[in-house]
Symmetry: C2
Subunit: 160 residues, 2 copies
DNA sequence: TATTGTTATACTCTATAACTATA
DNA sequence: TATAGTTATAGAGTATAACAATA
């Protein structure tokens, strides 16, 4: 054991290195579908529950409402979401998936499945479960909100 | 098991989420020392082998020589590195750590140690070894270069 | 002609503030 | 007075090209 651990033996470096790699590869996999990872996240949220306001969606994904505007503009331009009038609040929009999105979503999910399978292909089934278990526990211990990606989370500049 | 795996069960998402978190936290730990993660990486490289050229250092870290200029400017302004004339090539600089850097480096390494310890504090000793082993194998299988962080690696725009 | 270090430029991202229409 | 959505702006970060000195 050396005095100074090499980066290769540091869990922090390994996580950061692999995590960045995983994000890059996932972005590549989604690109042919005209989507970015954050679009996939938003579509997934909408698939789980249609009709929420932009603010609610932004809260759920941990990003600022200003960024949600641009995200929805992208998806609306591609005909994947619709902004409808909110029944109870005339300031708000109710956001819905389109039929096109419901056709596209399974393809995006398949891309995510393939991405995951590719990432862990060097591990056997038990090791995969182990990896997921360890990562989930680290995330919980670190106080990360399940399913919320830190890239999107707006934080005061001085704090970062 | 649901039809569509939640993000929380996807190794790709977990790695990306935790990796980003780890990078953020490490940056926070280094900030009091006036360093950013990439500075730590460069100082570590220099601690292992002084006197290399900027191009060699850039290659070792996987970044473009243009970025190495700014990185060295930072560290030189803080009195942590010296650009000396290269004995064999008058185009090149030979880069050396200063005494100040050699005093600072142990503190930075301690910060990295604490960062790592904090990240994995929820795991017992055996689980920590397991985690590191699994991550190393994933990295090797993915073809990642040991110790090279993808954030720094310059890639053609269309490819990313 | 190629390479080292440097500088300048343009482009992408994102944080922040400010505006409007409603509540 | 506060909130939902929107727009504009500025700042940080980074990729690319171009340059002078030297090989």
């Amino acid at each position: 054991m050396p005095d100074v651990p090499a980066l290769t033996d540091r869990p922090g470096f390994l996580l950061s290195q692999l995590g960045h790699h995983a994000a890059d590869r996932f972005a590549e996999r989604l690109r042919p579908l005209g989507l970015r990872p954050r679009h996939f996240g938003l579509l997934s949220h909408l698939a789980a529950a249609d009709g929420r306001t932009q603010q609610q969606l932004a809260d759920a994904m941990g990003l600022h409402r200003n960024q949600m505007v641009a995200l929805l503009d992208d998806l609306e331009a591609r005909g994947l979401v619709e902004r409808r009038r909110h029944p109870d609040d005339r300031r708000a929009h109710a956001v819905f998936l389109t039929e096109t999105a419901r056709e596209l979503l399974p393809r995006a999910q398949r891309a995510a499945d393939e991405h995951d399978a590719d990432l862990v292909r060097a591990l056997d089934a038990q090791e995969r479960r182990q990896l997921i278990d360890l990562l989930q526990r680290l995330g919980e211990d670190a106080g990360l909100t399940a399913g919320v990606h830190p890239t999107l989370t707006a934080a005061p500049r001085a704090t970062r």
